[in-house]
């Protein structure tokens, strides 16, 4: 008889089986439903942000054609696009979406350790999104302060939404941070405490390592955003002068005095830089698993990959001021932050090498998720290398606040994570829905997205070399920007519209396949990790049937010599184990 641990026997007590439609799908405490809720809302706001980016691009590519884009609306679009994409889409989708779905399944547990808190996390997230979207409908509209919300400009005259929009933004961010904290406590506790038997830390898939480290970073970094939001809110509503210096507003002395705008920037970037890795690390993790599975080969240098994730996470708190080389802070800081920034390139580069070395001598299955993963490696190499320009303080000076910066961060934390998101959405789609997606449509979607985004962002770097500044409603006439740059801008806009329209393919695919796709088997990719070994697909409430799985091996036993299949699931004892231990069967 298989061993049934205490945790399993106690199930009836621990998991409240949902009874009605409402408790099952709306006020649900099931991590899988919450994951889908998170994902759905995140993708929905992401589409709004995509629409805003098209508005920007229309103005930049074809100035003077669209009548409803005035300067104020342009700056509002810039701001909301950035903030939504970074916080409300990428952070929420990677951690709230994939984190919620994969952590309990990959850890072999039935749910998060605090399901009620998990549910609250989603509803607070939804509330933060609603507050954010509400700012579009108030007088003055949403804030147009730029996503960095720099004081004093974000709450003083001359910035769109400087009274109402910015307040809604600050409140929304505070609610989001509460939501993230509730989710984050769950992710961390679940991963540390609730892994199933045999699942040691080093047997965890890299997805979990990425999500875990990103969550820890988030828990440490979001407080900085919270503090800056609260203090900025005090300055705005109560008239304190934390960040607000003595200044003039339309010819009048303002009532502020003595505050430090640079302090705001330090707090903001102490959050802002780890935020980059809050998005990137889960992407690193997920893409590692996609690559390994479809290359039918273990991830190369697993230990190095884990250490690199931890090292990047730790270093990410020591580099924040590289966003502030031209901020007017003490220039001697530049030496320190340029050095730490370039050091972080080393573990990051190792990760890239190891992904490529995983493909080397693999048996690569070139399906849709794998194509997206390979596309990610390419764009990430490109974006990472341009980061070496901007991290090196003296090179940042001519390039700061130009389109080179825009192109760089879109390549490295826009396109690259989004390609991973698509890889992961396609990869786990059969598990989540129990259906296969349409492969042809998926591949067309990949080619449009991958080539389209490269056509947007490669040329954009060169606008930056020209010295074209970012956050300009229009360039106007200058002597250092040739007229041909406008043609380049127009082409970038066309490529952006093409990419945006191509996303329809993705939605057609996932909705059509939901009904009409081929039924998926439990483990269509022949993957080793636990989520593919559930008794039901999609997994039912509680995921594991009567008994939790036991884990006998690491997550990457692909193409093990002498084994008849080219993969061994983590919960398979294997012949050598059964020989030595004489058990009659320890896995579900």
């Amino acid at each position: 008889m298989a061993y049934v641990p205490l945790a399993d026997q106690d199930d009836a007590h621990a998991l409240h089986d949902p009874q009605s439609f409402v408790t099952k799908y709306i006020w649900s405490q099931d991590h899988k439903v919450i994951a889908i809720q998170y994902g759905g809302v995140a993708i929905f706001v992401g589409l709004i942000a995509l629409g805003l980016s098209i508005i920007m691009r229309l103005q930049l590519g074809f100035p003077d054609t669209v009548s409803f884009i005035d300067p104020a609306f342009y700056y509002q679009a810039v701001t909301m696009h950035g903030m939504i994409m970074v916080i409300y889409l990428l952070t929420a989708l990677f951690l709230g979406g994939f984190g919620n779905y994969l952590i309990p399944l990959m850890c072999g547990t039935r749910d998060m350790v605090f399901p009620f808190l998990n549910m609250l996390s989603f509803w607070f997230y939804l509330l933060s999104v609603l507050v954010l979207l509400a700012s579009f409908f108030i007088p003055g509209g949403p804030t147009g302060a730029g996503w960095t919300l720099y004081a004093p400009q974000s709450i003083s005259m001359g910035t769109p939404g400087y009274e109402g929009g910015i307040l809604f933004m600050l409140i929304s961010l505070a609610i989001f941070i509460v939501a993230f904290t509730m989710g984050g406590l769950n992710y961390v506790t679940t991963i540390l405490q609730a892994r199933t038997r045999g699942l040691t830390l080093m047997r965890l898939p890299l997805s979990i390592w990425g999500i875990f480290t990103a969550t820890v970073l988030g828990l440490f970094a979001f407080p900085a955003l919270l503090v800056s939001a609260i203090m900025l809110g005090f300055d705005l509503v109560l008239g304190t002068s934390f960040f607000m210096p003595a200044m003039m507003e339309l010819g009048e002395q303002s009532s502020y005095d003595g505050g430090s705008p640079i302090l705001f920037q330090h707090l903001f970037w102490f959050f802002g830089h780890p935020e980059v890795y809050i998005v990137a690390l889960p992407a690193f993790g997920l893409v590692s698993d996609v690559i390994s599975t479809h290359a039918r080969k273990n991830i190369f240098g697993y230990r190095m990959m884990v250490w690199a994730i931890i090292a990047i996470g730790g270093l990410s708190f020591m580099v924040w001021a590289h966003h502030m080389y031209v901020s007017g802070m003490n220039p001697y800081f530049g030496f320190f932050f340029a050095t730490t920034t370039l050091i972080i390139a080393v573990p990051t580069a190792l990760k890239v090498y190891n992904w490529v070395l995983t493909l080397w001598q693999g048996n690569i299955r070139l399906n849709t998720p794998m194509l997206f993963a390979i596309g990610f490696i390419f764009t990430f190499v490109h974006g990472g290398l341009t980061g070496l320009f901007l991290g090196n303080v003296i090179i940042d000076i001519p390039l700061a606040d130009t389109y080179f910066v825009v192109a760089h961060f879109h390549m490295v934390m826009g396109v690259s994570p989004v390609l991973v998101l698509f890889a992961a959405l396609y990869h786990w789609y059969p598990k989540v829905t129990g259906r296969m997606f349409n492969e042809t449509l998926g591949k067309v979607h990949f080619w449009c997205t991958f080539l389209g985004t490269y056509a947007i962002y490669l040329p954009m770097h060169y606008l930056g070399f020209l010295g074209m500044p970012r956050r300009y409603f229009e360039m106007g006439s200058t002597d250092f920007v040739p007229a041909s740059a406008q043609a380049l801008n127009a082409n970038i806009t066309l490529a952006a519209i093409f990419v945006a329209v191509a996303q329809i393919l993705f939605f057609v695919n996932i909705f059509w396949s939901l009904r009409k796709g081929d039924k998926a088997s439990g483990n269509p990719w022949g993957a080793t990790t636990l989520e593919w070994q559930t008794p039901d697909t999609p997994p039912k409430h509680g995921s594991w049937g009567d008994e939790l799985p036991s884990v006998y091996r690491w997550a990457y036993d692909y193409s093990v010599p002498g084994h008849k299949e080219d993969f061994i699931p983590q919960n398979e004892p294997g012949e050598e184990y059964e020989k030595t231990h004489h058990t009659s069967g320890g896995h579900a």
Partner: protein, 208 residues
């Protein structure tokens, strides 16, 4: 195995159940206790960043150290009492088989929370007092920080009181004590944490 050995071993060399048949948490504490610890670390980060901002802002030049009203001492005493009663509830609940709000550990727990509410009310009174004597939030950055730090601290206490009130309501019906022992001890830990934070903030505000 230590955490260090855990993350340096070669996982592909090992097949089987290295830790035996029980699942193995990283830390030998309950999930709730771990989550609370993590939360207290996060809260410490919040307060640390506020204190760092305090020091940076302090050195800008327009800073006038404020005189702390004597009532703040009284409030501090209330918070100390609150913590003491919470800890008392933990001690007493060891010896009880069942608890209710109206006697023994439950009563101590209830009174501890009431003292915390009295602390919040006292802080509110101090804000009004300061505003009335021309030391309002806009009068000087030192005063701004007084309002900021105390209100963030009160907000954290408010979170604790939310959990406290839920437990107190449940305690109006008697229940077995081992169910509540953990609640009491988690509340007590959190209360002590906020007391220590408050004393730290108080020292900072009073001396600079």
């Amino acid at each position: 195995m230590s955490l260090y050995q855990d993350v340096t071993n070669k996982p592909w060399d090992q097949v089987g159940l290295p830790d035996g048949i029980e699942s193995k948490p990283v830390f030998a504490v309950s999930n709730e206790r771990l989550a609370l610890t993590v939360f207290m670390i996060i809260a410490s980060v919040v307060f640390s960043l506020l204190v760092v901002s305090y020091y940076i802002r302090m050195n800008i030049g327009d800073w006038v150290p404020m005189s702390i009203p004597t009532q703040v001492w009284l409030n501090t005493a209330l918070l100390v009492l609150s913590s003491v009663f919470m800890q008392g509830a933990v001690f007493v609940s060891h010896k009880q088989l069942s608890v209710s709000l109206y006697s023994g550990a439950g009563l101590l727990f209830g009174i501890g929370g009431l003292f915390a509410i009295a602390f919040v009310a006292g802080q509110y009174q101090v804000w009004g007092l300061l505003a009335d004597t021309g030391q309002g939030i806009r009068s000087n950055p030192a005063n701004s920080f007084f309002y900021l730090l105390t209100s963030v601290h009160v907000a954290h206490l408010g979170g604790g009181l939310w959990v406290w009130s839920k437990s107190a309501i449940r305690l109006t019906h008697a229940a077995t004590s081992d169910h509540f022992h953990q609640t009491f001890s988690l509340c007590a830990v959190y209360w002590h944490f906020l007391l220590i934070v408050w004393i730290g903030l108080f020292l900072l505000l009073a001396n600079t």
